[in-house]
Symmetry: C2
Subunit: 336 residues, 2 copies
């Protein structure tokens, strides 16, 4: 029998239906092309810096850069123009004003976050925080969407490791929904629903993947996708723009662990990473907690998902978390 | 420059960004395996009726059936059990009660709706209506999701032409959103937002694909996907359960035309079809209009879409509709 579960952060129901997959726990391993350490044709490789639009920032000096930020060559939105609304009856529109940046996460063509050194991942996350802070301050920005696509089914066209940040002049529907549920929950309880979810997951324990310093990772009770994993700070903090260096270092370790566990336990699937943050504000907002979601692409959204807005997940998060913990335990034993 | 457009039926913004695709208007043609008229290994082919769970209904007699409805062999939800809620702090759940049925649309293994005869498509739509009516009456049913997946990237595992219907004991988030926007619009204006959108599309004309009897098809102003096409009744009617036979015949023709145009103009892409209906009610509800959406799978939802809930569409609906109209004109000229 399948089970319907409600995600307290969106109030949306998910169908957990392990019976629908023949071998739900054991996805086939994705075959990945072996990449060279440098590809002369890759616009993100050192030596090809002039093939990207003018650089926004870098970490490291000269040709020895470690992380680079450049505008997306095919931007969905761009900084020119005015986000003025125009309406013609039911048709509302505005110019595509915004920012669309690419964060090249390593000079190495064959780098992957789960294989990078801890300080290399910290460099990347430090850039995420800086670009988040900078874009959130743009007067027209209403949502800042920070994400990473890994693999073709997750929407990547370039294999050189990179993430992206998009700032837009409207609240994305996901932001609107999450913030409205979180505000309502705060008014009802005086707490952040994310903090309460994290504490309940830690208390139950069976869906926890790892606790790494000030970070907790778990496969949430109402996971929409097989092996979906969230990372939350153990102590409340509303905005990703305000994480401190200690948290950033712990997040780097936690993210690396989650991605390693996912690779081992779920057959190295394609995935997306999404960073979701509370609103820009001078002071911490008690109703929202920033968090990172790792969303593996092991299932295809079909007509049911498009029509209902609900997901069918064929792997119970309890099983996913157990498998991920086992991989981490095996790796720790092997390293001894 | 890209443009942000607001869908009046969801109030969600979409980014229309033709500049992001190198050849946005001319997707590569999907290579499809040539299918035999009958496949002995196919559970949906005549002669293999015992390989499906016990039949729910059929059109036609004996071995000469034309359409068959059977329970899904791997159901996401099932009719046994009670949709009782249980809550443990932030964790809300209930048993996966519901119905999950498969509609085998033709005895022919190689049939496709765009190649079927008009009366064959009418038979299929008549079954959609009957199953919709039946499931909507289940006391536990809150949402009935009627859909079709065509092609692997749209989530099909079996190629024999079929659609599905799922009834669930909660309101899917898409239903909640669409109905709440439609109720608010009605309270503000006294009209259905779908009727107003259809009338505005017909008035502007450039996104209309075809007007077929009592049905209008168009690529909506704020299309989320390249070549997305909606079919609406020309006269208001809230529930798909209440379409009359004349409307059903026109819908069969309209759907066939849209799928033919899509095949020619967009390279025979994979697609989903979703039927969305107003609430079950004794009388027509003025705030909602049933409609059919054809959603081609020409793009991959990536981290931006998952994180923001917004879509980036690289084909302007004006261009998509013009291409689809041209294909239909060419086909009509060739048929003369």
């Amino acid at each position: 029998m399948s089970q319907l579960r409600q995600d307290p952060t969106t109030r949306e129901w998910v169908i957990i239906a392990p019976g629908r997959a023949v071998r739900p726990h054991d996805p086939p391993r994705v075959e990945r092309a072996r990449l060279p350490a440098r590809d002369p044709a890759c616009p993100f490789c050192p030596g090809n810096e002039e093939r990207t639009p003018p650089e926004i920032m870098r970490v490291g000096n000269g040709s020895g850069w470690r992380v680079r930020v450049v505008p997306n060559l095919f931007p969905a939105v761009s900084p020119d123009g005015e986000p003025r609304r125009a309406a013609d009856g039911v048709f509302g529109r505005m110019e595509g004003v915004g920012a669309h940046e690419v964060i090249v996460e390593s000079p190495r063509h064959d780098a992957r976050i789960d294989e990078m050194a801890e300080d290399e991942v910290e460099d990347v996350l430090g850039v995420w925080r800086r670009r988040y802070q900078a874009l959130e301050r743009e007067p027209w920005a209403r949502s800042v969407v920070l994400f990473k696509n890994f693999g073709a089914t997750a929407g990547t066209s370039l294999v050189h490791t990179h993430s992206q940040v998009v700032a837009i002049p409207v609240h994305g529907p996901e932001d609107l929904r999450r913030h409205s549920v979180a505000l309502r929950y705060f008014d009802d309880t005086g707490r952040s629903v994310y903090d309460d979810l994290r504490d309940a997951e830690v208390r139950q324990g069976e869906r926890v993947v790892a606790e790494v310093g000030s970070m907790v990772s778990f496969a949430p009770f109402a996971s929409r996708a097989p092996f979906e994993t969230w990372i939350l700070p153990a102590r409340h903090r509303s905005s990703f723009a305000r994480v401190d260096d200690g948290e950033l270092a712990d997040l780097a370790r936690a993210l690396r662990e989650v991605l390693r566990a996912l690779r081992e336990a779920a057959g190295d699937p394609d995935f997306n990473i999404v960073v979701t943050s509370g609103p820009a504000a001078d002071r911490d907002q008690p109703h929202f907690t920033w968090h990172v979601r790792v969303l593996p692409r092991l299932a295809t959204a079909a007509g049911f998902e498009l029509g209902s807005g609900m997901s069918i997940n064929t792997v119970a998060p309890e099983d996913a978390a157990a498998r991920m913990r086992e991989s981490l335990d095996r790796a720790r034993t092997a390293a001894r």
